[in-house]
Symmetry: C2
Subunit: 328 residues, 2 copies
Amino acid sequence: MTQTLADLGEAELLRRLARFAPPGQLEDDTAQLQQPTADLLINTDVLVESIHFSDATTASTDVGWRAVAANLSDLAASGVDQILGITVGLVAPAHTPWSWVEGVYSGIGSLLQDSGGVLLGGDCSQGPVRMLSITALGTLGTLRLHRSQAMPGDSIVVSGAHGLSRLGLALLLKDPSLLGITLPGSLREQAIQQHQRPLPRLDALKSLVTCKPEQLPWRAGGTDSSDGLLQAIDCLCRSSGCGAVLDKTKLPQAEGWPDGPLWQRWCLSGGEDFELVVTLPAPWAKAWMDEQPSCRQVGVITDQPQAIIWSDDNTPVVAEGFAHYGTS
Amino acid sequence: MTQTLADLGEAELLRRLARFAPPGQLEDDTAQLQQPTADLLINTDVLVESIHFSDATTASTDVGWRAVAANLSDLAASGVDQILGITVGLVAPAHTPWSWVEGVYSGIGSLLQDSGGVLLGGDCSQGPVRMLSITALGTLGTLRLHRSQAMPGDSIVVSGAHGLSRLGLALLLKDPSLLGITLPGSLREQAIQQHQRPLPRLDALKSLVTCKPEQLPWRAGGTDSSDGLLQAIDCLCRSSGCGAVLDKTKLPQAEGWPDGPLWQRWCLSGGEDFELVVTLPAPWAKAWMDEQPSCRQVGVITDQPQAIIWSDDNTPVVAEGFAHYGTS
């Protein structure tokens, strides 16, 4: 018989979850963290069942992994040096199998093991749907990326291909919009991997920091593309009072993905790509692309507030939205 | 017409929430916190609609207040010095009125203004029920309270009366178990206030620290009674490998509350009292009670692992449980 959270009771649930944290870590009302050696970066992300994940497309271990990946991606897009740890707020119905919760925490543990940081603490509650709220903490490194630090003339560089996570979801759901499109097996695998086990681009941040030309100041605009590439560029433009010109021919396409409206739409607004989107002076951009082969320049920042246009015909760049709220 | 979150859209929602944080605070993917001057204490608490709050008993401003109070109470029970701030994970259906969310953040802001700390950041998502996950950060002061630091012979001292929050809830729900019980108006008001606007006992922690007799080391056991007084004592005993003897005549009764089974049950397991429950050497206990008139000694720690008994007849102390999961 499946063992549920109701079968375990809260005390036993907490005892089992404690195995995913350092010994004694979950023993007190609060977690204690040694005085950090630098400023802190803090981020909270919420994932809700049937909005951000579902049993149909995401194994429990992947739910845990992705939840942490979303947080660490935000830390990477802000200039984190060392990941310190996370707290987890877990909501789940009493009939939830323990094996599902175990899977989530095991996925959380896997990514923390790869990226540094520990499970610091958290809270559990019963509720009508499964929900995870994760808060991640890290120390700030040399470069603080801000959304508001884009400047006209900056190159817009992304750390990798876009649209893959959305493609992976479509493949898992056998989405009819894929009918008649031939995709190589390697791309299919890559897309599903990107959807289920996205990697926060801590590696790309590291190379961005190490490759800065000496004469340039520590100034770059940055965010991540968790809500889609176009929304990331829009955020940078709005916060910086700038605009952007994008080059259709330089959109970051994964190998083997045929051109077409589907590709372009998911590249711009598929979402959950978890790549860095950075605006920076051209010499630094070049140095970064040399250092990090997955990086691509997609356009340039302009002084036209909030106008994001194509370079070939000056028409506005539009894409279906990624709205957490609202009907559009 | 009521304005809902769907009417606003996510961008406008975030713009409005930003008013509750320092200028520019919510602008980036992450919050930045100046390098702390001491070790950090971190706590996450989750509140779910119809489990932890409901429109019937809790105004939106009180939902926000109580959510922060629960977190700060945990920080107080660990020895916090300065409250730094909180992040908020908010889940709500698209049809939620903006006025409800505004109320929640206004309640959050009120308690932060009283206790120190700011809204650092957060995340919002649509979901089938309202849910708040708050993570609070503070610096550790001179005294680190641990659950595992109780020692046989310690006095068990609580920072105030218990059962009031449960009584307040019963009054708001017109609970039939109150039929035939006469309660003075002042007690009714106090109980409802305690349910809707509990105060984290940062004041009691402060006096606990300042009144320590010089010859004693900085060693005391501590937790808060958010899950009820008996569960708090049980936690201290389990973590410390000790037991406790409680004195029925010294249970922390609010003025005007008549004796009886209802009083004793809610005192022991009503929950959400948010008082400090501390075990400490007798001279320190006396000094604390002298300094802080709301403090009461309810018993003594023993070397009988996990046995919590009454002093008059040595029978086990039992009370209805406060189980987040499970049927009992």
